[in-house]
């Protein structure tokens, strides 16, 4: 069992099993996102028309903050008991570990989004005026954009002081184009005033670029100690 897909699958299965039994990441993310939604909701108290304009921004800011909670926990488990050191000396490809972690985070954040979306609809009385099915590619590509860089930067920030703070400091500036695309794409679909195609293409390009560069450089980062 040395091929990349097999090891990715094994690592992913292990992470999912651990998460299924502890539910640490998903619980903390869910509660955090819920708090953000409630606070936003009563600090703006928008009408239906206004909320359509601002919802794109609110939804993604909430998901971004919640995703950071999960991303910060990505490597913590591997640091205990020197699992990461063991991984370094093993002949397993580094990218298998990275892909497993990124896919795992993608699944966690997707579950969070699936659970939180109804709440947003209730609190903000949302109804898409544009083609609603386009929200699915925006959400999927956007989530991958956050998660792929987040997983990579989390691996970088485990070697810094106060690493929990370091991750958002690294992730947010680089994610600005992706965030802009997610927010503007979502707003375009909700208001139905403009097409979201450009933003979907931009997200796809962003994902492609950063997935490639992460896979190329992850081995360097893993072995940097």
């Amino acid at each position: 069992m040395t091929s990349l897909p097999a090891i990715t699958q094994a690592t992913l299965a292990k992470d999912l099993r651990l998460e299924w039994r502890s539910k640490d990441a998903i619980n903390s993310m869910l509660f955090f996102a819920l708090l953000v939604v409630v606070i936003f909701s009563f600090s703006f108290n928008p009408t239906a028309e206004e909320s359509r304009q601002i919802a794109g921004g609110l939804v993604w800011v909430a998901f971004l903050f919640a995703a950071v909670v999960a991303l910060n926990q990505t490597w913590a488990r591997e640091l205990r008991n020197q699992v990461l050191d063991a991984y370094r000396v093993s002949p397993a490809p580094a990218n298998a570990l990275f892909l497993a972690k990124a896919i795992g985070n993608f699944l966690f954040v997707s579950v969070l989004e699936a659970l939180m979306t109804p709440l947003f609809i209730v609190f903000y009385t949302l109804r898409a005026l544009g083609p609603a099915w386009q929200l699915i590619p925006v959400a999927m590509l956007g989530t991958w954009a956050l998660v792929v860089n987040g997983t990579f930067f989390a691996a970088m920030s485990i070697r810094t002081r106060s690493r929990e703070i370091m991750l958002p400091l690294l992730l947010f500036p680089i994610s600005i184009p992706a965030l802009l695309a997610m927010v503007e794409g979502t707003s375009a679909i909700l208001t139905g005033e403009a097409a979201a195609k450009f933003w979907i293409v931009l997200l796809a390009v962003y994902d492609l670029v950063f997935t490639t560069v992460s896979l190329l450089l992850f081995e360097t980062i893993l072995h940097a100690e």
Binding site: T160, R161, V209, L217
Partner: protein, 229 residues
């Protein structure tokens, strides 16, 4: 090299004072904007210098990733620091100029936003260097620099589309620049480049010395331990 430093410093000082004179007195006053337009001679050269330094930072980071040369890393660290300073000058002088001319401090215009995002990326780069505890800081920093450089075209396209959707009150500075203004602008840029080079040079020497000291201290500590045993 060491003897060259003060000579170059004096030359830079002379050039900077000449550029200041030219910018404040020598250059013709702009017709519509008036005296406030003179900030242009600081704003634009600072921007060009900052972008050049960021470009050098990216080049040095790539060289470091390939060759693992500590000199390349020192260059990357220094150019990022000085670049952030020049970029801050751009971001401060911009609104001062924009307020009387456009009537607003800030707009999400392409160039403004791109400069701001670049500034944010490089500040996070400096934070990473500061907070890193491993001996592999140069490597991690070089990787982040590559990520930042790849981000720039994406930021550019997203803002470009964002802008075309939401037209802002900014009118393009079309038309040609007076040749005398070009002249003053280029003198100022030359002065700023010399100044940036001077600061980078002394900062580079400091950085190298600091690393030497750290290495010596580590070595001494190691030898001491052995002596005790």
């Amino acid at each position: 090299m060491k003897r060259l430093f003060p000579i170059f410093g004096v030359l830079t000082l002379i050039l900077l004072s000449f550029a200041l004179y030219e910018a404040l007195i020598g250059a013709p006053t702009e017709q519509t904007m008036g005296e406030v337009q003179r900030i242009f001679y600081y704003h634009v050269p600072s921007a060009w210098t900052a972008f050049l330094l960021f470009l050098i930072n990216f080049g040095a980071s790539v060289v470091y990733l390939i060759r693992r040369n500590p000199k390349a890393d020192a260059v990357a660290a220094v150019t990022a620091e000085v670049g952030v300073i020049f970029c801050s000058v751009v971001l401060v002088t911009g609104p001062i100029w924009a307020r009387p001319v456009w009537g607003i401090w800030w707009t999400w215009d392409m160039r403004l936003t791109l400069t701001l995002v670049l500034w944010l990326i490089y500040v996070s780069y400096l934070m990473l260097r500061r907070f890193s505890t491993s001996s592999q800081t140069p490597l991690i920093a070089a990787v982040l620099s590559v990520f930042g450089a790849l981000d720039v075209p994406l930021v550019y396209f997203s803002i470009w589309y964002f802008r075309t959707q939401h037209p802002s009150p900014v009118i393009g500075r079309g038309g040609s620049l007076d040749p005398r203004m070009w002249h003053v602008l280029l003198i100022n840029w030359a002065a700023f480049l010399c100044f940036a080079f001077l600061v980078c040079w002394s900062r580079y020497r400091l950085e190298r010395l600091q690393r030497e000291v750290e290495e010596t201290q580590a070595l001494e500590a190691l030898l001491e331990q052995r002596g005790v045993r």
